[in-house]
């Protein structure tokens, strides 16, 4: 009765493996989801892909880092007051997100507005936003260089670095920061859902998404709401970047741009016009990647794009999107 089994039974091992893969999927997927939330806002309301989102994501991470760590950061300036790092981090996170929102508005002004007023092809907007992304990322590189930056280990205070669950001798783990990212995505989702469905601003946004010309005729200041959208998208993007930065470190100015490409798969899978779709898309792709067997781990990147291709052929409106009537 006291003797422990040397090797756990096969069923427990399989169940544990399954559970670990699930947790990994949520872990990986929540990163995609939090990136996609800001991304899909612009896609949903304006029907255009804002490639500069990856750059704003990166910018947010750098801003939060520089404001919280280092001599001129909050921690540094107020060093005498012995403020715990968590406080200066939270404040920097907020400020960083706000500044990123402002950056989002700037992107709109520079890359999208001139094209919109001309009624230009949305593809031009895509390239234009890519140009802005390149400029932003390279300015960061010029100013700060391409070194790695890591947030201090105690960024989340006294929380343990990972949560561990034990099952019959085996262990299932998930890093705390990933749990935080998941929770924050859910929170943002809930707040956005409330905003879009239960407030007047949300109603106006939905009207603009439906048909900007009609909305303007109804007295909605379309330009102003587009501005709100970009500010919100930038805010979310900057915050997402900072959080993901605490998880993986900031690996150089291009670290956010890579998400931009996979993010496409996420938002298209989730569906045009659907904010929950972004989260669902992110989690689905994350889970699929987590279940790829170790021998084929290099095929992980192809999973998202295989899904994208399949969805485009079979159900272009994505999992949760509305079917698009082909406007003649």
């Amino acid at each position: 009765m006291t003797g422990e089994r040397e090797f756990p039974s096969r069923t427990i091992m399989d169940a544990v493996q399954l559970l670990q893969n699930l947790l990994n999927g949520i872990s990986i997927g929540s990163v995609y989801a939090i990136f996609a939330l800001g991304y899909t806002l612009v896609f949903s309301i304006l029907g255009i892909i804002n490639f500069a989102h990856g750059a704003v994501f990166t910018l947010g991470a750098y801003l939060t880092y520089s404001m919280s760590v280092g001599q001129f950061g909050i921690s540094g300036l107020l060093a005498g007051l012995q403020i715990p790092y968590q406080f200066s981090f939270s404040l920097s996170l907020l400020l960083g997100a706000v500044l990123s929102g402002a950056a989002g508005v700037l992107v709109e002004r520079l890359a999208f507005r001139p094209l919109r007023s001309r009624g230009a092809d949305p593809l031009l907007a895509l390239v234009s936003s890519l140009g802005v992304a390149l400029v932003t990322v390279n300015v960061i590189q010029y100013l700060v260089g391409s070194e790695n930056y890591s947030f201090p280990a105690d960024v989340y205070g006294d929380l343990p670095p990972a949560f561990m669950f034990h099952f019959g001798g085996k262990m299932v783990v998930i890093r705390t920061v990933q749990v935080i990212i998941f929770s924050v995505s859910m929170l943002i989702l809930a707040l956005l859902g409330y905003l879009i469905n239960f407030t007047r601003t949300g109603k106006a946004l939905r009207a603009v998404a439906e048909n900007a010309a009609t909305a303007s005729l109804l007295g909605i200041n379309v330009d102003r709401f587009i501005l709100y959208t970009f500010f919100l998208s930038g805010f979310l993007g900057g915050m997402a970047g900072s959080l993901v930065g605490t998880s993986f470190g900031i690996a150089g100015p291009y670290f956010g741009v890579a998400y931009g490409l996979k993010g496409l798969a996420v938002i298209v899978m989730g569906g045009l016009g659907s904010v929950p779709g972004a989260v669902v898309g992110g989690l689905v792709i994350g889970l699929a990647e987590a279940f790829v067997p170790a021998d084929y781990s290099a095929y992980k990147d192809a999973v998202a794009f295989a899904f994208l291709f399949a969805v485009l052929l079979v159900r272009p409106q994505g999992l949760l999107g509305r079917a698009q009537i082909q406007k003649v």
Partner: protein, 307 residues
Amino acid sequence: MEEFLQNYGFLLVTLVQQSLLALSLYFPLTAGQLSLAAPGFYSLGGYIAAIMATADYFAPWRDALGWAIFPLEWLIAAIASALLAFLVGIPALRLRGIYLALATIAFVEILRVLCLNLDITGGAVGIFGIPQLFESRWGYIWTFGPLLAATLFFGYRLDRSRVGRAFKAIREDELAAGAMGIDATRYKVLAFVIGAVLAGIVGAMSAPFLNTWNARQGTFDASISYLAYVLIGGGRSLWGPVLGAVLLASLPELLRPLKDARLIINGVLLVIATVYLPQGIVGALHRLKQIALSRGAAARGGDGRHP
């Protein structure tokens, strides 16, 4: 002259190569299809050439054919690209606009990951030491140059042919073209295949030129570069992509003294060009010419309404 070629030969050949890749994006565009799939076929062509030039399996072929193996590589790359383009194009070309672009992006990424993993492609490390066709980099002008000339000639004839007119009709209004009896899908796939075959041949020629081939040749970044060439040069005529490629591909070299700032300037130019030059440079020049002509007509008397 010798000095100049030694220093700039590589750049000049690269400009021709990039023009060809821009044209491979242009052909589907003449039928109104924005396909970002060129890097996928470029990568495929390059791998075919690299494998045929280095793998043991092909050693007897190399011994038997000598330098003729190079044209054979191009031929096989062209055929493979055409087949793959048919396979991918037929389902994908039912999509429109940005969705088609996304499908082609997905295709390129999937192909890239496949190449990253298969043993035959050298896995993630790639294929090295591809035998050279010419001693110097400048020598390759004798492969890319004629190809560019042939492509421009082909494009010119295509434009004036029935097929070219069908492309134009589809680009202007696909539904109307269908109503007039043009089988839109067939022509769209044809345009896609033409672009793919061109990209594949360029890839096969580029493998010895670049000496080394790996999955990094076929990425999304490359798609965006080619798209920029066409957008900035102008997507409505054959010369647009060539001009765009020559300008943008030489920019990093011209801006070399600026070192770090050059990528910033590259991005800024991209934004300015898309915002202020919607028809590209060629289109803008065309418009200037029209303005000049109409002013000329006005100056010669007449208010434009009466001949």
